[in-house]
């Protein structure tokens, strides 16, 4: 094959047999041209794929100057490839973390040892419509950054952004739907509840025990319905990052005993005794309503899952009184090890829990919400358990809240004077 013949031999051949040498040279040139053309076509093809790919692909050199800017990038950032190449990526591409205004710059993701992945980054699209003070219009992406080492001391980082706006929008719509649906459902529930309350409390007629029992059941059912609505709303607020707290400095011992009092009857009905926490003055900075929601959730679970015996409530200072730890100790069936990871997740429930008759009703959201509330207030929640002996659910609250205090009266907020 002529291609295998080294140049020197062509030169030496040229001296002896010029005609043959010329022919050989022509062949070599033709071969080379063919290979080049193939290479060029392959490169164009790859370029074309890279440029037209659905993901945004941007490459930068070590000075963060753009070396590649594909079609999708052009469309998204509204800038031509020609104008983008050679510019610093942070000037051309503004990427934010999630739905915040915190900027993610090349420094954060480019030329790291490992491939960097940032989920839920966004860019803001300026549609020139400032009239509404709605949320900014954004496109959401998952960002992945890796780099290529070209050996000659040149490295390029490749940044790929895949569009997840559709998923984010769907998620938002789901949360909005839950918000609206539960809000709309609250009105009719309130109507029934109030009218029932009037029947029970303002009618002159003397009801029979049987009548009263029916009314009680209705009230109980409505209470459960309200609980479910509130749980769904809480979850959707947590998911949307819209959970708000009214932090106050309160005596949690008083709050706790008030909650025990409220659930005392349901424990008694099941033949369970509740041991109150020891008298102590325990001031903590919490949202009182959320505090009681966490505690009542733990206590009502303990009541629900304990068939006989006692439930003990403890309040103790921990970590040099930085926190108070509130524990609810039951003598229920305990939680099997394989279910540990499910307990604080949404819709999670241990198998033992599933055996409890369904008329008790539960959305499986309570513990998830409780833990989120505790965390948002600057504490935490957890449990320990021994099969056949019982479980302890605990949560902690800070004595000094990391959040700002609100000064409120109960039930209503007074305006700032």
């Amino acid at each position: 094959m002529p291609g295998n013949t080294p140049n020197t031999s062509i030169i030496s051949l040229g001296q002896n047999d010029p005609e043959n040498a010329a022919k050989l040279l022509h062949n070599v040139a033709e071969e080379l041209y063919g290979k080049n053309l193939e290479l060029y076509r392959e490169q164009t093809r790859l370029n074309e794929i890279l440029l037209k790919i659905a993901e945004i692909i941007i490459a930068i050199d070590q000075d963060y100057k753009i070396t590649l800017f594909n079609k999708r990038a052009e469309e998204t950032f509204q800038i031509n490839q020609k104008d983008a190449i050679g510019k610093n990526i942070d000037e051309i591409v503004k990427i934010y973390k999630g739905f915040t205004l915190e900027v993610l710059s090349a420094n954060d993701y480019a030329f790291k040892d490992k491939t960097q992945t940032f989920e839920h980054v966004s860019i803001i699209i300026d549609d020139g419509d400032d009239s509404t003070n709605n949320e900014l219009d954004r496109i959401y992406f998952n960002l992945q950054s890796t780099y290529v080492d070209f050996k000659d001391n040149k490295k390029e980082a490749v940044i790929a952004l895949s569009d997840i706006t559709h998923e984010v929008e769907l998620d938002k719509q789901k949360d909005e739907f839950i918000s609206i649906a539960s809000h709309e459902l609250k009105t009719p529930i309130s109507i029934v509840k109030n009218n029932l309350w009037m029947l029970e409390n303002t009618t002159k007629k003397k009801y029979s025990q049987r009548d009263l029992k029916f009314m009680n059941e209705m009230d109980y059912g409505l209470g459960r319905l309200q609980n479910i609505m509130n749980n769904l709303l809480s979850v959707s607020r947590i998911q949307q990052g819209k959970l708000t707290l009214e932090i106050q400095r309160v005596d949690i011992h008083t709050l706790t005993t008030a909650s025990i009092e409220a659930l005392h009857e349901s424990a008694q009905k099941r033949g369970l005794t509740i041991h109150n926490p020891k008298e102590l003055v325990a001031f903590a900075e919490v949202d009182p309503a959320k505090y009681q929601e966490i505690f009542e959730n733990f206590l009502s679970n303990a009541i629900k899952y304990t068939l006989k015996g006692k439930i003990t409530v403890l309040i103790e200072p921990i970590e040099n009184k930085k926190f108070y730890k509130i524990s609810v100790i039951d003598e229920g069936p305990g939680i099997p090890y394989r279910d540990y990871s499910k307990i604080f997740t949404k819709f999670g429930r241990a198998e033992e829990g599933l055996k409890i008759k369904t008329s008790e009703g539960s959305t499986g959201l309570g513990l998830y919400i409780a833990k989120q509330f505790a965390k948002h207030m600057g504490g935490d929640a957890g449990f320990t358990s021994q099969l056949g002996k019982g479980s302890t659910f605990w949560f902690t609250v800070p004595t000094k809240s990391p959040l700002k205090l609100n000064v409120n009266t109960t039930g209503t907020i007074k305006p700032q004077a």
Partner: protein, 128 residues
């Protein structure tokens, strides 16, 4: 003495229950089912002690009604409490900026508890 209330609530069934209970407890109760009725009633009853104002209302929404009442200094003495179903901070905050005196979350109160809140709102302010 008996206090004069204005209940602004488009949901008739909720409104009539509250109105009946409060009347039977000695309150004088005016009722409005939309924002326009509310402002008309306020204009004709300068001696209202407290307005319980729903936010989502037909014809004129609650925040607008609130702003109009607060724009007229003649009504300075009227307490205005927002009544909402949602513990929605944004709306409540807006309400306070417009001059509301407080709020209640409707679905957490039975008629008796509502009465207690109203009494506390009116009498609490008189002590100050």
């Amino acid at each position: 003495m008996s206090y004069k209330l204005l209940l602004v609530e488009d949901e008739a069934s909720l409104r009539t229950v509250y109105a009946e209970y409060l009347r039977s407890n000695g309150f004088e109760v005016l009722e409005a089912e939309d924002g326009e009725q509310a402002t008309t009633l306020v204009a004709n009853n300068h001696d209202i002690d407290l307005i319980l104002l729903d936010i989502l209302l037909p014809k004129k929404d609650g925040l607008k009604v609130l702003a109009e009442i607060r724009a007229n200094s003649e009504y300075n003495k009227m307490k205005i409490y927002l009544a909402t179903m949602l513990n929605n901070d944004k709306v409540i905050k807006q309400g306070f900026e417009l001059g509301a005196d407080g709020y209640i979350i409707k679905d957490t109160l039975n008629p008796e508890q509502l009465k207690q809140e109203i009494l506390a709102a009116i009498e609490g302010s008189k002590k100050n």
